[in-house]
């Protein structure tokens, strides 16, 4: 059963990711990005990373995408629909992405990967213990980073930006 779930979630993630870059309208792109992120949270659940799945839905699909939608609706982005895609950019883009995809494929195929499923569960208790013992310094630095980002955003959105 969970095998089928993996394929369903993986297909949803990839198709919605493709629709993000195909869509002309930025609002549709944002909506498909929400779908892609939510189905990736499903993949996290299948990998027994329950806490990260919850954080993914709360932070990405909730906070970050609301921010995106606010900014899309704040700016007037209707002009996008009239512009055409640059042919040279498309050709070089597809070529370089095909090259990097080939590199990914070869490296996945030629690397010996661990195959046995482990018993590590990513629930809140275990992650919290690890976070507040081994990783307490990066955690504190991260809180300072968030404070700096908050101050910077307030400064950037002031009316008289010099």
């Amino acid at each position: 059963m969970s095998d089928y779930l993996f394929y369903i979630f993986a297909a949803l993630t990839v198709i919605c990711g493709a629709l993000v870059i195909i869509n002309k309208n930025p609002i549709n792109s944002a909506m498909f990005l929400v779908l892609s992120i939510a189905s990736m949270a499903g993949l996290f659940v299948l990998l027994h990373a329950f806490f990260l799945a919850a954080v993914q839905v709360l932070v990405y699909a909730g906070a970050v995408m609301v921010l995106f939608l606010f900014v899309i609706m704040l700016l007037d982005l209707k002009e996008e629909q009239r512009r055409k895609i640059n042919t040279f950019g498309a050709v070089t883009g597809v070529a370089s992405v095909a090259a990097i995809g080939y590199v990914f494929y070869q490296s996945i195929r030629n690397t010996p990967l661990p195959n046995a499923v482990a018993h590590s569960e990513g629930d809140t208790v275990v992650l919290g213990k690890l976070l507040f013992t081994d990783y307490v310094l990066p955690f504190e630095i991260l809180s300072i980073l968030l404070l700096v980002a908050m101050v910077g955003v307030i400064l950037l959105s002031k009316k008289d930006l010099k």
């Binding site: 493709a18 993914q56 932070v59 921010l67 661990p114 950037l156």
Partner: protein, 101 residues
Amino acid sequence: MHIPLEHYLIVSGILFSLGLLGVIMRRNLLVIYMCLELMLNAANLALVAMSRFNDNLNGQIMVFFIITVAAAEVSVGLALIVALYRKRQTAHVEDLTTMKN
């Protein structure tokens, strides 16, 4: 029977390639930003899958940090885009050629 690690890594690789394609091809700053988020998510998926199959939770801690940093990055970047739009009335990379000549 269970899903091997390769399948997760292939999904992650496809998603990263899609994000990269979007960053190269799209001309709207906001859509470029969304594609960056897609690439970060692909990296997160690879890290979580590796952490599961190696019986090591450090990868999940790394993903937690990545999500937090990405949230901070998005807020600052969107504030920059709004400030830019206020000054130049555009969010299109082809119109932002001040440093070209």
